[in-house]
């Protein structure tokens, strides 16, 4: 039951993108298409789960004063592994996301969960928390990417819906489109949450 709560927290109540509004640099930069958002989310989720679990294991060994550098080394190691494996086995995807993969190291979600959760809780709970946060980040990025791809390029997951040469909202694939979409989605999420709260009370 506790584990379930740890898991769903990242999906909605403390969703990294829509609720905590952290880690926005990769969020806005890579979500020009649904596939990019999904892959970036999954890469971050992998790093989150692994680093949260490992930091939880090491929490008694790492002295308090050097915990941040120690966490960063652990996180950077996993990020580099993702980067190399993706470059070797998914070269097409890597050529698109390549720039942003190393930046997962400085994504505040990863260090944030290590500091706020993994350093205080059991290995199992930390891993589940990482999974929830990671998937929360993933669905947010995929949704953002899907909307921007649909409006900006007229396609979804690479399948085109409009005739060649038809005009699309080019601004949606540029950074302003990212901010606009993010703002609207956050408003929608707040609206749904408010409705749910009213119903409950």
């Amino acid at each position: 039951m506790v584990l379930w709560k740890d898991f769903v927290r990242g999906l909605w109540d403390e969703n990294p993108t829509f609720r905590l509004v952290i880690g926005l640099c990769p969020t806005l930069a890579v979500t020009t298409s649904a596939v990019n958002g999904l892959s970036m989310g999954l890469a971050t989720a992998f790093v989150l789960i692994c680093s949260s679990a490992l930091i939880s294991i090491l929490k008694r060994i790492i002295p308090d004063k050097v915990r941040i550098p120690a966490y960063i080394i652990v996180i950077a190691t996993f990020v580099t592994i993702v980067d190399l494996v993706m470059h070797a086995y998914m070269p097409d995807l890597h050529s698109v996301l390549g720039l942003f993969i190393p930046l997962i190291v400085v994504n505040c979600i990863v260090l944030g969960r290590a500091e706020a959760f993994a350093s205080k809780n059991s290995v199992m709970r930390s891993a589940v928390d990482g999974l929830g946060m990671g998937l929360g980040f993933t669905w947010a990025l995929t949704l953002l990417g899907a909307i921007r791809e649909l409006l900006g390029s007229g396609s979804l997951f690479g399948y085109s819906f409009v005739a060649d040469g038809a005009s699309t909202l080019g601004i949606m694939t540029l950074p302003p489109g990212g901010f606009i979409t993010l703002g609207i989605l956050m408003a929608v999420m707040n609206m749904i949450s408010d409705r749910l709260k009213k119903k409950a009370s």
Partner: protein, 196 residues
């Protein structure tokens, strides 16, 4: 153990373990990464030289390369020292291809240029890699823009605003592609025609 010594030891051990794991991962993946890149480049040669069934690799200047270590060699090769020759199924030479580079708006743009053997005119070009703005500069990848280079020879200026129409909103990117094509074309053509 006193506290500061413990901090140093723990951090050093974590760093060493990480370095060990990463060197193992790098060892296995770097080979695949290099193979992928070489294969991607070779398959692009088939695209810019239509009808090609076999690709031969010519060194521009084998003596100048002067390195024995294969990994170092590959790095040197990627700095555009190779000419790819396309042959058809009867082993006739169709043309040659080479890589050109220039700085665009967001970084280096690499283009592969395919030139016909008989007419010495450009058959097709392909943008291999770039980091231009999505939606604006990345239209250099498009068929429409790349088609503007077809048929050009070393006698043409190959310059934006002269014989090449730039892309509106992406002048820097268009100019960079034209520069990359022109400079590498002149250099390689002279070598290829002179060095046979």
């Amino acid at each position: 153990m006193n506290e500061s010594l413990r901090m140093v030891v723990v951090l050093a051990v974590i760093a060493m373990v990480s370095a060990g794991i990463l060197s193992m991962v790098y060892g296995t993946t770097s080979v695949i990464i290099e193979e992928n890149q070489a294969r991607a480049l070779e398959s692009s040669v088939f695209e810019v030289l239509p009808g090609t069934t076999r690709v031969e690799i010519l060194r521009r200047n084998p003596d100048e390369l002067g390195v024995d270590d294969p990994r170092e060699m590959r790095e040197e090769e990627q700095k555009t020292t190779l000419i790819y020759q396309g042959l058809d199924d009867q082993d006739r030479i169709l043309g040659y291809a080479f890589v050109g580079e220039a700085n665009g708006y967001g970084g280096v743009i690499r283009v592969l240029v395919g030139v016909a053997e008989d007419t010495d005119a450009i058959l097709s070009i392909k943008v291999l890699s770039h980091t231009e703005t999505p939606g604006l500069g990345d239209r250099i990848e498009g068929e429409d823009f790349r088609g503007r280079f077809v048929g050009k020879t070393t006698a043409d200026p190959i310059k934006v605003a002269q014989d090449i129409d730039g892309l509106s909103g992406a002048t820097v990117s268009s100019t960079a592609v034209a520069d990359a094509v022109r400079e590498s074309f002149i250099e390689v053509s002279a070598l290829y025609r002179g060095g046979e």
